[in-house]
Symmetry: C2
Subunit: 187 residues, 2 copies
DNA sequence: CTGTTATCGTACAATCTGTTCGGTAATATA
DNA sequence: TATATTACCGAACAGATTGTACGATAACAG
């Protein structure tokens, strides 16, 4: 990839992130992004068809990375340093979030979180399915697997949101404890 | 309230509902609503400051009504006819949803559901708080009440969405059973 | 019957969108 | 280093949307 392309793409991501921390997603125009990134109009459209595709690409990068480390798969980067073999996937994810790669927490806790959370949940479902459902780690096998996978993923996302909205007062281990308590019937 | 005002307001709600069943919320313009409702431009803005306030008012009407019947409070209407005294609040809500007042299910299952679900969840939280948290019906009192209320509300909303996305194949009683199973640790 | 007011129709400036174009400069490659 | 490629710029464009303003009309309440 051309160095100019990389720089422009990064400038757009960066500008978009900066803006999304300030105001809701749907109040941000392509014009705003262009101004903030200080690039030409045509250049933006050469990179992203619409604002929505920009959002999608950013989320793919952010959540794809986090979920892949949880899968133990490399993603162009080394494995997360503070990882311990014996901790649960959920604690692992929480620790990773706490590191706040690329200000991911600001995005999830901003007024817009619904939009980012939808992408987060999608990636999380894949993780839960391969990590739990496919390995037979779910209790209540009389309930539909789809329902259980969805329940676990949604609940974890909601746990993270609750954590953020209260200022992340709890340690990751404590929060993981909360989550595992309410999930006792399922996992 | 002036009869003309009532008619216009209803025409706007109706047009908006019809549109939202066809395409995503953020792809609907005020212009579209004006055309569909067949009213003057200034008339729309005399009723709603923005599209977002229209959404809010509609949701207040829809979910406020449903949640209030669950609370046993009258809301300008008589109590839900098929109500049985011994059934759980959740089963009651599901039955009420199945009746599909004002095409509420179309809204919740449309591509945009996130927007409506946020309002649904807000109203549901109030219900859960007064119905369970304040009456001491929640187990795990060592976990923060906020966290538990949020968990129950979110999980119920997710259950409804899962139900809708699969064509509502299950009877309300069966679905309520699913929900109560995964909630066994909490309620 | 009379005063009030919701609506209409039209018009308006301001903004945003997505595309086009020729010119410039950075880049990859040989 | 020389050359061909390509990403970027900046300006311009039509089309659509937004929110507001106005007088005229007709429905409404008392």
């Amino acid at each position: 990839m051309d160095r100019r392309q990389r720089k422009t793409r990064e400038a757009i991501f960066s500008a978009f992130t900066r803006l999304i921390e300030k105001r809701p997603y749907h109040q941000i125009t392509v014009q705003d992004i262009i101004d903030e990134a200080d690039i030409g109009r045509a250049t933006f459209y050469a990179h992203f068809e619409t604002k929505e595709y920009l959002l999608k690409d950013l989320c793919d990068e952010l959540f794809g990375h986090i979920v892949n480390t949880a899968l133990g798969l490399p993603h162009g980067h080394e494995h997360y340093a503070g990882c311990r073999a014996d901790e649960s996937v959920f604690l692992h994810l929480l620790r990773h979030l706490q590191e706040n790669d690329r200000n991911i927490l600001a995005l999830l806790s901003s007024q817009n979180n619904e939009i980012f959370l939808a992408y987060f949940k999608t990636d999380l479902k894949k993780l839960i399915r391969t990590q739990f459902a496919d390995t037979g780690a779910l209790k209540n096998s009389d309930l539909p697997t789809d329902y259980l996978v969805n329940h676990v993923s949604s609940s974890f996302v909601e746990t993270v949101v609750w954590w953020l909205s209260h200022g992340m007062k709890e340690e990751p281990a404590v929060l993981a404890g909360y989550f595992e308590t309410v999930m006792k019937t399922v996992i």
